[in-house]
Point group: C2
């Protein structure tokens, strides 16, 4: 087989299309029912996907008009807490990787280091942390803060947060645990280390109370596209999740990121880039397009306005719906990078606020591929072979029907073409993605296991 | 069957006796191996236990001598993060309750409310939160604090923390979720509420982004015995976990707590009290006593010194090992209630520091019952029938052998006597313990379902 693309499943309980939950085939039960998640995870594993990826938000958006009505009424505002969800899924699966989002703005590094290290043990080396900085004041107000940190400040905190977590993950050397019953020596104290971190944001002494985990460090994912994001991701990220609306923007992003990675002395292959990609599948091109249009018809305009306001951390209700989209690029305080494309498009096409809101929420700046299994596979193959990505974080428009189309029709097509694996060849998330385990900063440079393998 | 006692399994990866990890039958592998936990949990469920209970500490103790040598060398210093562990166990079990410890001193209420609510959904109503305030400066130093909050202050914070969490758990009324596809109404906005909490410690707006969970609120457990603890527990706790070294102290505690519960207008039955109880089982009384002595012989004195120093948040290395136990009752800043008995005993019996350290770490003030399955059942039955407890949080001295003795020999004996269930009669943790679901503060007082059932 030629080089294989990497495929994640970007899991959202009610599907990724904003109208998806209203589709006749969409599940209508409790969106936190574990039987539902278990079945999806086991299908994803049967399809040999690299990982399941779970995003997160620490509030219900209430920027738009200062209330949450549009968020709870018109769109699924609920999301299972990702760490607990992937823990449960780890017990229901054997091979597939599991990635959970956690915010550096509203968590403590010791908890995050410990939870992911525990999970890496429990899952036998299958977890990843998607590092985010959060977006909105609604989140700040759930954590005794008046407003969200500004963009530069929260990235500064994120960088220090990641450094602390990595120090804690290194605090037990790989061979520190002895459990020598006869001598009565549980661990080698000389191979356990204080982190002794003292910084602007955090003072964390350590050591972690978890021995080094199977992957050394759980895999680090970062998601975004802004300039600040790129600078951080190029240093720390091992997987990058990004919203790229088309192959041109994806190529530019891919080449830029890979160059930056090299500028930090890292190998291009040390980082894999996966754009979010929604697939809408039909028996014919026309049927797929009709399905997309039908899904669009199920969207309320308020859903777009509420979601955009939350992501921008800006109240769009100040502006008239039928006037041209307002010039607010310098005023938004939430996500930045993913809206640059939106501002440009609104200007070029002279769109109104209502038009932008409806259009934006259809895909949230993600790539959408609509067609037959074969034509979809063509386009995914092109993106992959033309070096605009290392694979995709796949998004089902509605659950479970829209997901079954992906598992049962698109993945087999990619496997037949030899661009996606037909069987797992490793047991860890690092293994699936071909990512090396990091060295422990405290271990001898010339570790035999590092040299000989 | 007459009234049934309630039994939890107080799970510790390396067993509860400080010498247990060195026992020839003790497991020697990775103490974070999920296969090991899964097997134990499934055995506990087969034995029809009410719940599995997991304690926690947010650091490796390093009070004694200002380093962690005695903690990592002589005793298992490692503990899986409890929330992620019980999440994974929820996917591997069907009926048994799952209780995780989380600290109000070092967590944020929104995360705690959300994780437990998620878990209550995923487990279909089987989770409990053991509310603790933590004990030592080692924990403080992992969270950018110089030292641990003093006793009164951390209980003040704990009380407000629990109130915030309960407000968030109430923020979605039971019937708020509609998922009405045809009208396009996901939730009833009038049944979703801001928490709007503003207090001394926390400002939390809410609402939670999780709908009301199967148990209404996950069950609240509190653990302790100090005066401050009792005042808080009598108002909020539904299960109380306590260390009581003998039946007299247990009876006094039980009667005091139940009276306090009533003084807050709650029913005596609204709170169940479970003392931690280590069982050491033999074919004969002598064999059991020999087993206990053998386990004691495996303990290092340093283990007792390090563990006591951590729990007291006080460095005992300042004192000579062979001098009488020092008079430091007013100086310790960690756990209070559980050491009152220790100070008294040391004084009455004229014990040295080394003697107290070795004795304390054998049971950590918990009741220890040593004997044959029949004589152990006699004593548990006496405790239960004489109203010194509502059941026990059972502790195995070593794993898995010491635990199998409990499951295979003691539990069947209790079942034969009709004092413990032979089959589950409910599916939730509240159901197992006979605890009612709380009303939602926002729901109509005269809810038909409340009146008619």
């Amino acid at each position: 087989m030629s080089k294989s693309m990497h495929l994640g499943l970007f899991l959202a309980a009610n599907g990724h299309h904003a109208g998806g939950w209203r589709h006749p085939d969409a599940a209508q039960g409790n969106p936190l029912d574990f039987d539902y998640y278990r079945e999806i995870a086991q299908k994803a594993e049967a399809a040999k996907l690299d990982m399941i990826f779970i995003a997160d938000k620490l509030a219900i958006d209430d920027n738009y008009g200062g209330n949450f009505d549009s968020s709870v009424t018109y769109r699924p505002a609920l999301s299972a807490e990702p760490l607990t969800l992937i823990s449960a899924l780890s017990a229901a699966t054997q091979k597939i990787g599991l990635a959970a989002t956690a915010s550096t703005t509203y968590h403590e590094p010791y908890h995050i280091a410990r939870m992911f290290a525990t999970l890496d043990h429990l899952s036998k080396g299958r977890v990843a942390w998607n590092v985010v900085t959060s977006t909105s004041d609604a989140e700040a107000r759930n954590f005794s803060k008046k407003e969200h940190l500004d963009h530069a400040t929260r990235y500064e905190r994120a960088q220090e947060f990641v450094e602390v977590v990595q120090k804690l993950w290194d605090s037990w050397e790989e061979d520190a645990l002895l459990i020598d019953k006869s001598r009565g020596v549980f661990a080698d104290k000389d191979k356990v280390h204080y982190a002794n971190h003292q910084g602007k944001w955090f003072d964390v002494k350590g050591p972690l109370n978890i021995p080094r985990s199977p992957q050394g460090h759980p895999v680090l994912i970062q998601a975004g596209s802004s300039e600040t994001f790129r600078a951080l991701a190029a240093q720390y990220a091992e997987l990058i999740f990004t919203a790229q609306p088309n192959i041109e923007s994806a190529k530019t992003f891919y080449q830029d990121l890979k160059s930056r990675v090299e500028s930090y002395g890292r190998s291009r292959d040390a980082v894999k880039i996966l754009p979010g990609t929604m697939l809408i599948v039909g028996d014919t091109e026309q049927e797929a397009k009709d399905k997309e249009q039908y899904l669009h018809s199920l969207i309320h305009t308020q859903t777009g306005l509420a979601f955009m306001s939350g992501s921008m951390n800006y109240d769009l209700s100040k502006h008239a719906l039928d006037e041209p989209f307002p010039d607010i690029e310098q005023e938004i305080r939430g996500s930045r990078g993913r809206f640059q494309f939106v501002f440009r498009k609104a200007k070029e096409e002279g769109l109104t606020l209502a038009q932008v809101a409806r259009w934006y929420i259809q895909s949230r700046s993600h790539n959408v591929v609509v067609g037959t299994p074969s034509s979809i596979a063509d386009r995914l193959e092109t993106w992959f072979k033309e070096e605009s990505c290392d694979g995709f974080n796949l998004m089902a428009p509605y659950m479970s029907g829209g997901l079954d189309d992906i598992f049962e029709r698109v993945i087999p097509e990619l496997q037949n073409r030899g661009v996606f694996r037909e069987a797992y060849t490793s047991d860890t998330l690092r293994g699936h993605f071909g990512l090396q385990s990091p060295n422990n900063r405290y271990s001898q440079a010339a570790k035999p296991s590092t040299i000989l393998i």
